[in-house]
């Protein structure tokens, strides 16, 4: 078998070199860049797995053509597994502590850890080249790693409670856009809940009631159930993000996907532009449908009075007005605008009520933070209007010298108050500064960056205070 042996050695050397190129990259970048503990634990895991895998393949031999056939197939599968990890390593290395928006993400992770099912979870951040936030399915990665264990002797364990979240490489300095990370956290939780199984069962029952018998065939039914389950997961993650972060998530969503485009000159829905944006995608419901579900969810929450400015008697911001206007879009219009997916959309309604019910259980006992927001929002705005970082809010109880106390503002309060200021008071801030020009985009950008920095700094100060109070180094450990 000398020829076969040499062929296998050649291919094994190529795999060995591929694995080595990944670990070399990790070693090289980590020698000068700093990472949080979550990213570090991921790199340690990958390096350990590489060592075990190289040891394993170094011991291979080929006794006969049957064994060659077997080992050759195994080599191919191992290479594919390393390609899977390869996708994640470089973007995670790129997101070192100088590049990632750690204060905002750290604040959201701290909030995430308040959800009973999510305590102890950490997230490593990586960069995506697309303008898209992404959660790597660690729930599918984890079993893959465990399946490695059935092949490679003594592999390291994948770090428990570790999630991997991607964000656009260009958004490191922003604060408000990164509220979208909350949706990706929803994906992390989703696969740890029995919800997917429950949804599939409900969707399958609904599909069985379809009049078209073709669609009831097992192959077709599987495809339809899969599509609806994927849509339902996206909607779950949207509503999870709203419940976790508050309306700042929805406002960031509106801006990221430019959804105010459906408003006309008078701020009313433009029929033409609306109708062109109701079509569902293969993997996602339309943005307008998703926004409508978020608006309905918010309307049922204490945040709605503030969003609609009902108590203050003021006009709502343009984004808030958009929220109110998408609510009445009828199910019939969604169905009519989706010749491909129309009858599938009709199944989503009952599915969504189960999603909302599940969210109620997930967040049972978790403060929605609206009471704190109501109390502190105006004070935070006053700080921001004066260019002061709202790390600690001094509240007055009476007229006496000592009648004050320091109120802590949580990440949810800071992000929502900051977003509220951004949507409603930026012109006031800019015009209050002598010499500033409201019509200059450059100056608007300058003050937007300042605002985001003040919010991020306040979040960072809180995290440091948390560190001082405990040996824990924060959710991301940065």
């Amino acid at each position: 078998m000398p020829a076969l042996r040499e062929d296998l050695r050649h291919d094994l050397a190529a795999l060995y070199a591929f694995i080595d190129s990944i670990t070399s990259e990790i070693g090289s970048k980590r020698s000068f860049a700093a990472y949080g503990p979550a990213a570090d634990s991921f790199f340690e895991f990958v390096s350990g797995l590489a060592d075990r895998c190289k040891d394993y393949i170094s011991g291979w031999s080929v006794a006969d053509p049957e064994e060659f056939e077997d080992r050759r197939g195994e080599l191919s599968t191992l290479r594919a597994a390393w390609q899977e990890l390869h996708v994640l390593v470089k973007p995670t290395l790129d997101a070192d502590t100088l590049q990632a928006p750690l204060a905002v993400v750290d604040g959201l992770v701290r909030r995430f850890q308040e959800v009973p099912a999510c305590a102890g979870t950490t997230f490593a951040i990586f960069h995506t080249s697309d303008f898209n936030y992404a959660e790597v399915r660690t729930t599918s990665l984890r079993p893959i790693i465990e399946k490695f264990a059935n092949i490679i002797p003594s592999p390291p364990s994948f770090p428990p409670n570790l999630g991997l979240i991607g964000m656009p490489y260009s958004q490191g300095r922003t604060a408000f856009a990164n509220c979208l990370v909350a949706h990706e956290m929803g994906h992390y939780l989703y696969t740890r809940l029995p919800l997917q199984k429950e949804l599939k069962s409900r969707i399958d029952s609904a599909v069985q009631a379809f009049p078209n018998s073709e669609e009831k065939k097992s192959e077709y039914r599987d495809v339809i159930v899969q599509k609806l389950t994927i849509w339902a997961e996206e909607l779950f993650c949207d509503l999870f993000a709203v419940r976790l972060a508050g309306p700042c998530y929805t406002y960031a969503y509106i801006e990221a996907f430019d959804l105010c485009v459906i408003l006309d000159w008078d701020g009313k829905l433009s029929d033409d532009r609306l109708l062109g944006r109701l079509e569902f995608y293969d993997k996602y419901p339309s943005h307008i449908y998703r926004l409508q579900q978020q608006a309905i969810f918010l309307r049922e929450s204490p945040w709605w009075d503030h969003i609609s400015n009902a108590r203050q008697g003021k006009s709502p911001s343009r984004s808030a007005s958009l929220l109110a206007q998408v609510i009445p879009i009828t199910p019939e219009l969604h169905v009519k605008s989706n010749p491909r997916h129309g009858r599938l959309i009709s199944v989503l309604d009952p599915v969504l009520s189960h999603v909302r019910e599940t969210l109620g259980k997930v967040f049972n006992g978790v403060d929605d933070e609206f009471a704190s927001f109501s109390q502190l929002n105006i004070h935070i705005h006053n700080y921001l209007a004066a260019g002061i970082v709202p790390s600690t809010i001094n509240m007055r109880l009476g007229v006496g010298k000592d009648d004050t106390y320091i109120a802590p503002a949580s990440p949810v309060v800071l992000l929502n108050s900051g977003m509220d200021f951004y949507l409603n008071h930026m012109p006031d801030l800019i015009t209050s500064i002598p010499g500033e020009d409201l019509s200059s985009f450059e100056r608007r950008l300058h003050w937007l960056r300042r605002l985001e920095e003040w919010i991020a700094k306040a979040l960072e100060d809180q995290s440091l205070e948390g560190e001082a109070g405990s040996v824990d180094s924060g959710a991301l450990g940065n």
Partner: protein, 147 residues
């Protein structure tokens, strides 16, 4: 391959999650490594029995034209991509004979399994591993790693 009508109808176009194909390839590899050990005289391992059981139950359901995806049971391949790949592979083999083979390997006296049974099982899992890797390497599925 998927039935033609499925791919022609956009409603029915399946969506592949790349990592699940790799997961299936690793499952098949686990079975193949266990078969290798078994054919060299080792006792049938738990890994082998688990792999055989998953494949047998899923093949039975496919043969009976049941909807698998909605059921999500640990006794079956649970992911849509796994089920579709199994359907593809099973469409080109004699399912009844294969089921008989896998059942004989699962039986109490599996140590007496014929060499032909092992060859047949090996062939099936190699086809499954190979098909799963084919889908995994589909350049169009790259972006589905993330969501």
């Amino acid at each position: 391959m998927l039935p033609c009508r499925m791919t022609e109808n956009p409603d029915m176009a399946p969506i592949g999650e790349r990592a699940y194909y790799l997961s299936l390839a690793l499952d098949a590899r686990r079975a193949l490594n266990a078969i290798r050990g078994f054919s060299r005289g080792s006792e049938p391992s738990d890994e082998l029995k688990d792999s055989l059981r998953s494949a047998t139950e899923s093949l039975r359901a496919i043969a009976a034209h049941e909807s698998l995806y909605a059921k999500l049971s640990p006794e079956h391949y649970v992911q849509f991509e796994e089920i579709q790949t199994l359907r593809e592979v099973s469409s080109s083999i004699d399912c009844v004979a294969l089921l008989r083979t896998l059942e004989s390997l699962l039986s109490e006296d599996s140590s007496a399994a014929a060499a032909a049974d092992l060859t047949s099982a090996r062939k099936f899992f190699r086809a499954l591993e190979s098909r799963a890797l084919h889908h995994y390497y589909d350049p169009g599925s790259h972006e589905t790693v993330m969501a």
